[in-house]
């Protein structure tokens, strides 16, 4: 029988499309992520006062901090934990009816399986952010102005590293019985650097610090370096994680 030569990317996108189609039918991953994000954002809206300016100091037991710092931190914490809820379900679809075995036998490098899962997770996290970011802007009267595009760049760069590490550790955690508990324990220490960078950058942008000053602080370099290093490590280590 004649075979059609399919490229690495064609197969990878077919697998990612499969994950999205399964999610559209089952709605088992995105709803809990969004529900968590809604709950946390609404709770914060009742506890943190909307500030006239984001440089207004908020008094905390540890001292006064700018509202921008607090909001940036809470926004990324919300995204981080919503993402982890989704990542924990990454391999559930493969576990049902032994689909993972069938998938491990297809003639596609394991990095293709990793990339497909990472693409699906990227879109799930992006969907949560489509809710979280506007909600923060509206509920906390944030006027980000010219920094909007830069903030979107921060979000995209953060997501790349976040889903790379999250997908890798989801594969490791999937081998255990308590995968929902194991995933945060494994992933959080590895995710700290990228979230420190993204919180700092977001805080700077919300505070209205000029873009050239934000760029000069070097956090963008950390974000990009993290994406490249951890993205590569995750793709290479994925095969071992599945074994």
């Amino acid at each position: 029988m004649s075979q059609i030569r399919q490229s690495f990317l064609t197969k990878t996108f077919a697998l990612a499309a499969k994950d999205l189609r399964v999610e559209m039918r089952g709605r088992e991953t995105l709803p809990p992520m969004v529900a968590f994000a809604i709950a946390v954002t609404l709770l914060l809206a009742f506890t943190i006062p909307a500030s006239p300016t984001l440089r207004t100091p908020l008094t905390l037991p540890t001292g006064a901090v700018e509202a921008a710092d607090v909001l940036a931190g809470f926004m990324w914490v919300t995204i981080l934990f919503a993402g982890l809820i989704g990542f924990a379900r990454t391999f559930e679809v493969e576990r049902q009816d032994g689909a993972l075995d069938a998938m491990l036998l297809v003639p596609l490098d394991r990095s293709g399986l990793f990339l497909a899962k990472a693409i699906a997770n990227f879109l799930f996290v992006g969907a949560v952010e489509l809710f979280v970011l506007p909600a923060f802007v509206i509920l906390f009267s944030i006027d980000i102005g010219p920094g909007l595009l830069t903030l979107l760049l921060v979000v995209i760069l953060t997501n790349i590293g976040f889903v790379s590490v999250g997908t890798l550790f989801a594969a490791l955690a999937a081998q255990t019985r308590s995968r929902e508990l194991v995933l945060p324990i494994l992933a959080l220490p590895a995710l700290l650097p990228i979230f420190i960078a993204s919180v700092t950058l977001t805080s700077d942008l919300l505070s209205g610090i000029p873009l050239n000053e934000v760029a000069a602080r070097g956090w963008f370099v950390i974000l990009i370096a993290y994406d490249v290093i951890f993205g590569t490590i995750a793709a290479l280590a994925f095969e071992a994680a599945l074994d």
Binding site: R5, A14, L104
Partner: protein, 219 residues
Amino acid sequence: MTSIELKQVTVVFGRTLALDAIDLTIQPGIIGLFGQNGSGKSTLLRTIAGLIKPATGRVMVDGRAYARGDESLRGELGFAGHESGLYPRLTLQENLELFARLYGTPVERIDATLEELGLSAEGARQVGSLSAGTKRRAAVARALLHDPTVLLLDEPYANLDDEASEKVSASIQRWSRPHKTALIATHGAKKVKAYATAGIILQRGRVVTRGNYEPRFTP
């Protein structure tokens, strides 16, 4: 000629010795794999498929071992384990289209495969809603879809009535060619012996008997 060769293959699960230093060369043909529960049939199939890495020894398919970056060997395998290996939320047709794309198989072959196994009417149904017997046939359809040269089936007759069993047997025989190798693990020895060219009996992780059925079984 697609032969399978196992050299001193040992598989251990915790303290359980699942395969005990198996030396086995399997020549092309349809080979029945028999043995009691826990004799190592499934483990042997999964080890040959590369899903289990042996503690010692090596597995060669067509003279080649599994190697990272060499995906061609996986493309030659058709494997159906205890579970269907299909996505319950997708229809049977969507599942087979996915696997056709991953194996580079023309999608026109899906209809023919479904027809052969009596599954044409089930194509539009989600796999999760299929009966156990229909899922079993669907798993065989997935394994046969890309016309592999090595076919590994684990209990393909489980939950099947006589009519469905005949369709599975006919599909396997239609797939068979002189250069292809099939290894079929089953408790229903009669069904496989009807068309198998050879048989292997496992006991406690060791090969205790093997021989050809042509012209008659000669251990």
